[in-house]
Amino acid sequence: MAQTHGTTSVKMGIPISRAKLGMWLFLGTEIMFFTAFIGTYIVCFFGSPGWPTDTHQTHINIAAGGINTFVLILSSYFVVVAHEAMGLRDFAKARKFLIMTMVLAFVFLGIKTYEYKGKFDHNILPGKIAEDDFQAMDNVVKAMKTAVERELDSLIPGTEKPYEKQAALNQKITEPKAGEAESAEQRTYRAWQGWNEEFNRLRTEVSGNKLTLKDVEERLETGYAHTIIVDTKAPVLKAADGRDLTHVAGTLEDSQIEAYKAKQPFTLKAHTGETVSIAPDNLVTAVIPAEVIDLGHEIHHPFVMPYGNLFASCYFLMTAFHAIHVLVGMTMFAWLLMQGSALNETWSDFMENAGLYWHFVDLVWIFLFPLLYILPGLMRAV
C-alpha cells in the first residue's frame, strides 16, 4: 500500500530504508530508557555510603557475569554471520547460525536464572533485606511465623483463621492409650506445637531485647536443626523455681540422640535455660525428634546488609529489563526461524533490524556487566 502513486522521481532524505531508519531511531529511545536506569544506579551507588560490595554477601557471581558477556558477544558475532549468509542467499547457513544464536541466548538466560536462583535462595530480594540487627531478627521471626503457619495449613487444611486451626489442632492431641505407641499423626501435631512454642518464645525474646543477632544465628544453626520436643508430666521435669515444664524444647547433641535411641537417661539443656534430666522411665510420651517437621532449615540465615535493598532493587531492575529485551530479540529470531525453508531475501531487512536490535541488547549488557559486577569490587579494592 505504500507506493500507490508510483515512486518519487527525486528521492529526498537519506539513503537507508524506512525500516532501518525507524529501527535506529527506536534504538535511540531505548538508549535513553537504559540511560535512566544506569543513571539511577550511579546516583544510588555514589549516593549511598557503604554500598554492599562484598560479593560473598551480595551473591554477585563475577564468573557467571563474565561468561554471559562472552556468550552475548559470541551470539552477536553469529548474528552478523547469519546476516551475511542471508546477503549471499545461503539461507541454510543463515538458519544454522540463527539457531546457534538462539542457543546462546538460552545459555545467557540459563546463567541468569542460575544467578537469580542464588539470590532468591538467600533472600536477597528488594524490600526483604535487613539493614540493621533488629530488622534481621525481625526477619527471622517473620520467616518462622510464615513457616509455622504454612505447616499448620498443611496439617489442617481449610480457610479458618490460624488461631482457630491451632485450637482445632490442640483438640486433636490426645493421650495415647496405655501401652500403645503414639501414632505418626499425633507426633506431627505435637511437633508442630513444639515449633509454635519455639516461635512464640523467639518472638517474645526478640521483642524483649533478650537476644542479639548472634544468639539468633546460633539458635538457627544449632538449635532448630535438632530440636526435640519433650512432653512429660514427670515430677523430675519441674524447674528449680517450680515452673511446670510440660513442654520443653531443647537442643539435642548427637550423643543425646544416641542415648535417646538407646533408651538411656540423659540431660537436656532447654532453651528456657533449665537443665532437665530425662530418664526414659519418666517420659509419658515419646521424645519427638525435630525431623518429624523440620522447619529450621527453611528459615533464612539472618544477615545485615546496609543499602542491601537498594542494591537488590537496582540489580533486579536492570538485569530484568535487560532480560526482557533478550526475550524480545529471541522472539524476532524465532519468527525468522519459523519461516523455515520459506526464508528468503525478502526477510533480509527484518534480519538486519533484528541483528541491530541484538547488538543493542549486547551493548547494554556490556555496560551493565562492569557496572554491576566489577565496579563494586573495584570500590572495595580502593
Partner: protein, 607 residues
C-alpha cells in the same frame, strides 16, 4: 483577490463529490475505514475527536477545582452527588484528586495527543507530499494505545479515593506509599500504567514522524523548504523520543516501588499513616530529576507544534512570507536543545545542590531567548501584511499575545531567588496556563478551523467560531490573569481551602470572579464542539484551497483521498511565498512550476 473571505469561496475545479468518493471508496468495511484505519488522516481525526472529548472531561475537573476555591465546603454541583451523606460537600482528598486528574488528563490526554497525534498525523504526510506515514500500522497502534491509557486513567477514577491524588508530578513518597493518601492506592498504580501507555503511544508516533519527515519528503522538498509546522513536529518528535523513555523508566521504578518492594525512591525509617517504618535507602529527589528530565522537554512538546502551526497560519492570514524563516527554525532547535538541560528549575526549592541551581538558572534564563526571537518574528510577519481577521487569525493573534505573557512570567521563575518565593504558588499556575492554554490551545483552535476544510471538505461556521473565540478569550484572561496576583500574594497551589490562612482571606472575592470567568470559558467550549460537529455535516463546501495558502496540502483534494495526492507533488519553492511581486496572485503554491527561467527548485525560501 487577496482577501480570503470564506463566504465567497466556492467549490474549486475539483468537485467535492469526486474527492469524497476518492477518500472512502477503497475499503468498504466500516471497521477498517473508521476504526482500525491505517490512513494517517483518519487517525489524525480520531485523535482530534478523542482529544476534544477529553478536553471536556479535563475542563469539567477544572471547574470542580474552581468551584471549591470560590464556594469552599459548599455543596458542589455534579461531583457533590458522590457525597450525598455529607450534603454534597466534597472532601479534601477529592479536591486533590481533581487537581491531579485535571492536569493529567489535560497534559497526557489532550495537549500532547492533540498536537502530535491529531495535527502531527494529519499534517505531516500532506505537508511534505507523502502518501502516508512511514509505518501506517504503527501509526494505528499509536492511536489505539491511547485507549488503554484512557481506560487506566478511568480506572484510576473508579478506584478508592476517586483517582490519583499525588499531583500530576506524582512526587514520591506521596505517590510511592499507598498509605500516604487516599488516592495513592490502586488509583495511583492505574495512573502510572496509564502514563506508560501514553509513553508507548508517543514513542511509536514520534519514531514514525521522524522517519516520515526524514525519508518521505516529496521531490524538491528540501529541509529548508519544509513548513515550520513540519520543523516543529520534527523537533517535537526528537524531544519526545529521547526524553519520554526516561519517564517511562522512572514510571517502571515507581511501579516497582509500589508493587515489588523495591526502594528507589523510598528512604528508610519513613512512617506514614501509622504504619511500620519503611526499609530502604532510596532518594525521593531521584524521581524529581527523572520526572523533570522528561517533563520539562514535555512543556516544549506541548508548545512547539503549536508554534509551528501558528507560524504557517499567521503567514497565510497576513498574506506575507514568514519573517526570518531560518531564525525560526534555529530558535526552535535551540529551545529543544536547551530544553534538555533546564529541568532543574522545577527543583530550586527542593534541596538539591545549590551549585546545580546556579547552572540551571543560567540555562533557564537563556531559554527565554529563542522564545523572544520567535515572538519578534511573528510580529515581523504581521508587519506590513494585509491581515485577514477571521477566526483563524484571531486565534493566532491570541496565541502570540498570550505567549508573550506566558514567556515574560517565566522569567520571574527562572530567577532562582524570586522563584524561592513564587514556587508552588498560583504565579506558576498562571504562567503555565498562559503557555499551555493561552498559547497552545488557541493555536489548536486556530489549527482546527484552518485545516477543517482539508479534513472534511467543509468550512467551519465563522460566526460561531468568532463567538467561541470571543468568549474563550475573555473567560481565559478573566480566569488566569488574576492568578499572577494570587501568586504574588503567596497563595499556594493545590490548596483546597486557602482562606484558612488569614493572609489569604481577602482573596476570596477575586477567586469567585475567576470561577465565574472559568465557567463562562468552560461552557463556551460547547460552542466549539457544536460548531465542529455541525459544520462537519452542514458547513459550506469548499474547494482545495479555501485560504489561498501555499502548502502542499492545499493541492490535494478536500478531503484528500487514499494516498493523498493524485500525482506526486513536486516542490519548487518554500511554503511562504505570499505576495511575491513577481507573481500575479498573492500566493504561490509550492507545486506551481517556476514562471521564469532561473527560478528552479534549488532556490531556498529564506536567505
Amino acid at each position: 483577490m487577496s482577501t480570503v473571505d470564506p463566504a465567497i469561496v466556492t467549490t474549486g475545479g475539483h468537485g467535492h463529490a469526486d474527492d469524497h468518493g476518492h477518500g472512502h471508496g477503497h475499503h468498504g468495511s466500516f471497521i477498517s475505514t473508521y476504526v482500525f484505519s491505517t490512513d494517517h488522516k483518519m487517525i489524525g481525526k480520531q485523535f482530534l475527536i478523542t482529544t476534544l472529548l477529553m478536553l471536556m472531561v479535563g475542563g469539567a475537573l477544572a471547574l470542580g477545582v474552581r468551584w471549591q476555591l470560590a464556594f469552599r465546603w459548599e455543596a458542589m454541583p455534579i461531583f457533590g452527588q458522590l457525597f450525598p451523606a455529607q450534603g454534597g460537600q466534597i472532601p479534601p482528598e477529592f479536591y486533590t484528586m481533581l487537581v491531579t486528574m485535571h492536569a493529567s488528563v489535560m497534559i497526557f490526554l489532550v495537549i500532547i495527543p492533540i498536537l502530535a497525534g491529531a495535527f502531527g498525523n494529519f499534517l505531516i504526510p500532506l505537508m511534505i507530499g507523502a502518501d502516508d506515514m512511514a509505518f501506517p500500522i504503527l501509526n494505528m497502534l499509536s492511536y489505539w494505545f491511547m485507549w488503554p491509557a484512557i481506560f487506566c486513567f478511568g480506572a484510576s477514577f473508579l478506584s478508592a479515593g476517586y483517582g490519583a491524588a499525588g499531583g500530576w508530578t506524582s512526587y514520591p513518597l506521596l505517590s510511592a506509599l499507598p498509605e500516604a493518601a487516599p488516592g495513592s492506592g490502586t488509583a495511583q498504580t492505574w495512573w502510572l500504567f496509564g502514563l506508560t501507555f501514553v509513553g508507548f503511544s508517543s514513542m511509536m508516533g514520534s519514531i514514525n514522524y521522524m522517519t516520515t519527515i526524514i525519508n518521505m519528503r516529496a521531490p524538491g522538498m528540501t529541509l529548508f523548504r519544509m513548513p515550520l509546522t513540519i520543523w516543529a513536529m520534527f523537533i517535537t518528535a526528537i524531544l519526545q523520543s529521547f526524553a519520554l523513555p526516561v519517564l517511562t523508566a522512572a514510571g517502571f521504578m515507581l511501579v516497582a516501588d509500589r508493587m515489588l518492594g523495591t526502594c528507589f525512591f523510598i528512604p528508610s525509617g519513613i512512617v506514614v499513616n501509622d504504619t511500620d517504618p519503611t526499609v530502604g535507602g532510596g532518594q525521593p529527589l531521584l524521581w524529581q530529576h527523572l520526572f523533570w528530565f522528561y517533563s520539562h522537554p514535555a512543556v516544549y512538546i506541548m508548545l512547539l507544534p503549536a508554534m509551528g502551526m501558528v507560524s504557517d497560519m499567521l503567514a497565510c492570514m497576513s498574506r506575507k512570507p514568514i519573517f526570518g524563516y531560518k531564525p525560526m527554525v534555529y530558535s526552535m532547535a535551540a529551545i529543544a536543545g536547551l530544553g534538555f538541560i533546564v529541568w532543574g528549575h522545577h527543583m530550586f526549592t527542593s534541596g538539591m545542590n545549590p551549585a546545580l541551581g546556579m547552572t540551571f538558572m543560567v540555562s533557564t534564563v537563556m531559554i527565554a531567548l529563542p522564545s523572544a526571537v520567535k515572538v519578534f518574528n511573528w510580529i515581523g510577519t504581521m508587519w506590513g501584511g494585509r491581515l485577514v481577521f477571521n477566526t483563524v487569525m484571531l486565534n493566532c493573534i491570541a496565541f502570540v499575545s498570550m505567549f508573550i505573557v506566558g514567556g515574560l512570567s517565566g522569567i520571574f521563575m527562572a530567577a532562582v531567588p524570586v522563584d524561592i518565593y513564587i514556587h508552588d504558588t498560583y504565579f506558576i499556575v498562571a504562567h503555565f496556563h498562559y503557555v499551555l492554554f493561552g498559547a497552545t490551545l488557541f493555536g489548536c483552535f486556530a489549527g482546527i478551523v484552518f485545516w477543517f476544510p482539508k479534513m472534511y471538505g467543509r468550512l467551519m461556521n465563522e460566526k460561531l467560531g468568532k463567538l467561541h473565540f470571543f468568549l474563550t478569550f475573555i473567560g481565559f484572561n478573566g480566569t488566569f490573569f488574576p492568578m499572577h496576583l494570587l501568586g504574588v500574594s503567596g497563595m499556594p497551589r493545590r490548596y483546597a481551602d486557602p482562606y484558612l490562612h488569614p493572609y489569604l482571606e481577602h482573596l476570596l472575592p477575586m477567586n469567585q470572579f475567576m470561577t465565574c470567568c472559568a465557567i463562562l470559558m468552560g461552557f463556551s467550549q460547547f460552542i466549539l464542539l457544536f460548531n465542529f460537529f455541525y459544520s462537519r455535516q452542514f458547513g459550506p463546501k469548499c474547494g482545495r484551497n479555501p485560504w489561498n495558502a501555499n502548502g502542499l496540502e492545499w493541492t490535494a483534494p478536500s478531503p484528500p483521498g487514499h494516498g493523498n495526492f493524485e500525482s506526486v507533488p513536486i516542490c519548487h519553492r518554500g511554503p511562504y511565498e505570499y505576495s511575491d511581486p513577481k507573481h500575479s496572485e498573492d500566493f504561490w503554491l509550492q507545486t506551481d512550476p517556476p514562471a521564469k527561467r532561473g527560478e528552479g527548485p534549488a532556490t531556498v525560501a529564506a536567505h
